[in-house]
Amino acid sequence: MMWRKRIFLRVGCLCLFLTQALLLSAQKDSLHLELQDIEITEKFSIREVRSASPSQRLDSKQLESMSALQLSDALKHFAGLSIKDYGGLGGMKTVSIRSLGTQHTGISYDGISLSDTQSGQIDISRFSLENVESLQLANGQSMNIFCTARQMAAAGLLEIQTKQPSFEAGRRHRAKLQFGAGSFGLLRPSFRWEHQLNEHIAYSLDGEYLYSHGRYPYRLAYGAAAGDSIAHKIRQNNHISTGRIEGDLYIRPDRQSLWRSKIYYYQSERGLPNATTFYNDYQNAYLYDRQGFIQSNYSKDINESWAIKSALKYQNSYQRYQDDGSLATRPSINEYWQQEYYGSFSTLYRCLENLSFAFNNDLAINHMEAEGIAHFAAPTRYSLQSALAGKFQNDFLSANASVLGSFIQEKTRQGQAAQHHIRFSPYAGLSIKPFQEECYLRGFFKHSFRLPSFNDLYYGKVGNVNLKPENAWQYNLGLTWARHISHWFPRFYISADAYYNRIEDKIVALPTKNLFVWSMTNLGRVDIKGIDVNLHGSLRPAKDYQIDFSGSYSFQQALDHTSQEGASGKVYGHQIAYTPRHSGSGQISLDTPFGQFSYNLTLCGERYILGQNIEENRLDGYSDHSLAYLKNFQWKHYQSRFKFEILNLLDENYAVIKYFPMPGRSIRASLSFSL
């Protein structure tokens, strides 16, 4: 296997380069600095209120009180974000912001965007919340102009920040061990180790293992009417076994610069359950995943006016799909390899106290190989993205604007390659404070696009190399209001946004070649209008008691406006599939001296499973309630924590995707010790 050798060499080079750079920077004289200063914490509520684009955030405290094990559990609390969840811990989960589609959602992990050029969408089921410090969702673009160009390229960005080392006074290391268990065979041990070597260097190691047999009961209805047959069944072939290990190295040569490097490895083996087919329970398909990456960010404040930031990343992913139940005479195995080489360099220039400009440049090379697919193109994509951005901010006004240029070139080992693309995408956002009140009016406009994925372009006969990028236009108007009301009501925040999004040249699958081979075409237009409302606040009714609450509501009207002719005419003006008009969430937690009690709720209105909004395609709405109890205590000299959760309290038998049932009532518990 030639390519394996090549990867090895390139990884080697990258490592060499990184260590040299580290040594160089470490040689510099530097100011003494405690590592806990590394994280520049900003009072988030201020940023959230002032942002020109809607921005929502969950920090580790909120995440802990949330009955959330996986990333997807937490994301259900963001307004305007919908998750496709195929059920169970191993079921695929993808996110879409404001009906724009999964491929328009950017996800970054510690400042560097994740990518999957094969499908264009990232399965978030592999992210746990174990080591997550905060989640932040920005519609459009965040106020931070000093970022990578790729972070500016997506229609919306979900930023995952992992925990950073922090030490109690006088200590130089910290260890944490945790063990979790729950219904359906859930076992989850995890550990974390943080160590400060000297004033300049600290590192952390973080790992977890998760297993679940996933055999949960569900009810299968053989008809929609009241008297129709129902069977009580157990979900089969739904096991998952995953492991993740992550190492972080922090180097702070001086007060003005920070070097953060990460090595990440993830592996999973899971059953891939079918839809719950009537009268046929046989399941025998599996999915194996391996993904590793190494990334490094370096940032430096050169002087009062200038700052630079750079990042490098290499990622290697492998996926194997195996269907042992297939009646094909040849073994039904598909294997995919993906590699990414990525570099980013950004410059920030503060020309006035309130005015700054950034120039962000990214270069990425993505390559894919496949086994089990005849005449696979083995494509390579070269993308160069540059963004010029400006920001002005004073007490009454924040404005930012950017223009992103994207230059995409592809080549293939065999067959025709996709055409090259040059695109310019503007963004502008404005937030003003018309009164003395902490109340802001905001608005933004953004154009973005998503490239056709390698599957869209090259997957056997499905692929179509003539595809154009899919365009998204977003317009948003909203207001935010935050206030300290009284001593016992210290914090209240509310935001309401109305938006209009348009998707053009939507990439859809249609049987253009023949019935069995649907291929991708740029046909489709969707007009989306919606409202997102978010609120959160805190109450302090008595000493040692605190109530935190939050809620979100979304209204979405996402109408298919492709064509009034022929088959498209039958769905013209209909709500697109799997998009609820109404959805919402709520959370309330009560901190007491006896522990923290919290209640979580997610609500989703009815949806249609296909484009035609008729009774046959209707899928009922659902509500999911959960309770959690969290208690911190001292055991010997260990900081200990106990958590107990009851999920889907009402044992509602619902599905996000039809015939992929979600688990009913279940429990989870975990115990952790830190030193």
Partner: protein, 356 residues
Amino acid sequence: MKNLQKYIYLIVCLFCLTACPTPPEPEDELPQTQDRFFVLCEGLFNLNNGTLAYWNQDRWISKKYFLQQNQRGLGDTPNDIQVYGNKLYMLVNVSSQIEVVDLHSGLSIKQIPLFLEDGRARQPRHIAFHQDKAYITCFDGSVARLDTAQLIIDGKVQVGRHPEGIAVAHGKLYVANSGGLDNPHYDNTVSVIDIASFREIKKIQVADNPYKVYSDAQGDIYVNSRGDYNEMDYCLQKIDSQSDELIKTFNELQVLNFTIQGNIAYLYDFDFGSKSSEIFVMDTQSDQVVRKQFITDGTIIETPYGLSVNPKNGDVFICEAYNYLTQGDVLCFSSDGKLKYRLSDVGLNPNAVIVW
């Protein structure tokens, strides 16, 4: 505070104005007919939404007749439907069941599962009848024999890979071995099975990926092949059922799907790219195309998905599937190619009409 409320109110109002749900479209006027038939709709894979619709003269008894009568759905992807005696036989491919239904009541008499010993579904595909036995092609590479009186499977014979169509002539079964699940390594044979001994006696080589098999009134066998699903690959071939030899290849005809009633074959070609279809008529005695355009009144079919002939009056039913994601229609044409009536929104992917 006042201002804030005003803004929220304004925004909410603005959106409510544009957010009204689309009103349901009015039902089409239903035609007056003399026909009584079932329509089998495949639904979509993984959605368990195969349906059986039942039309009687001037109204739908139900578009979900099976569900209504049996309080349970038909299952995932029913592929074939036939009437034999007083029973209706349906093959549900993904659910891997034979559903035997009483023709008069619509009640299920028996649901017969088809699974291999290791638990894998055999996936029944097409059915043919001969002397109180039903013969069912299954994607596991076999033909199952069902006793229609006792409703039990009493035999199995191995054929080629992923058999599709099946026809009876001169005491023999002709089975098209498609190899479709091994795409692009298709099978290219027709198995000949002696019914008396229930053994495969011959494999006749035909074009790649054979699909449907029918016999005409003389007992000649016609088989169409779909190659690698490129339009130019479709073809039609003829087998002599006395000698079991391939005797003719119709090179000039691109046949995606067809059916034979007596000595008349209705065939169609469909170009998925341009969405143009040609439905033509062939006389199987002369093997000549007698009409290049079956439809004479300009009716447009977007995506033909099934073709059936009413044996009572020679009317031709054509199933319209549109883009496979929206409810399809059934169109009834007189034998001279004029539209008699259209029944809209029958179900998802209607593939066969059975008159009784």
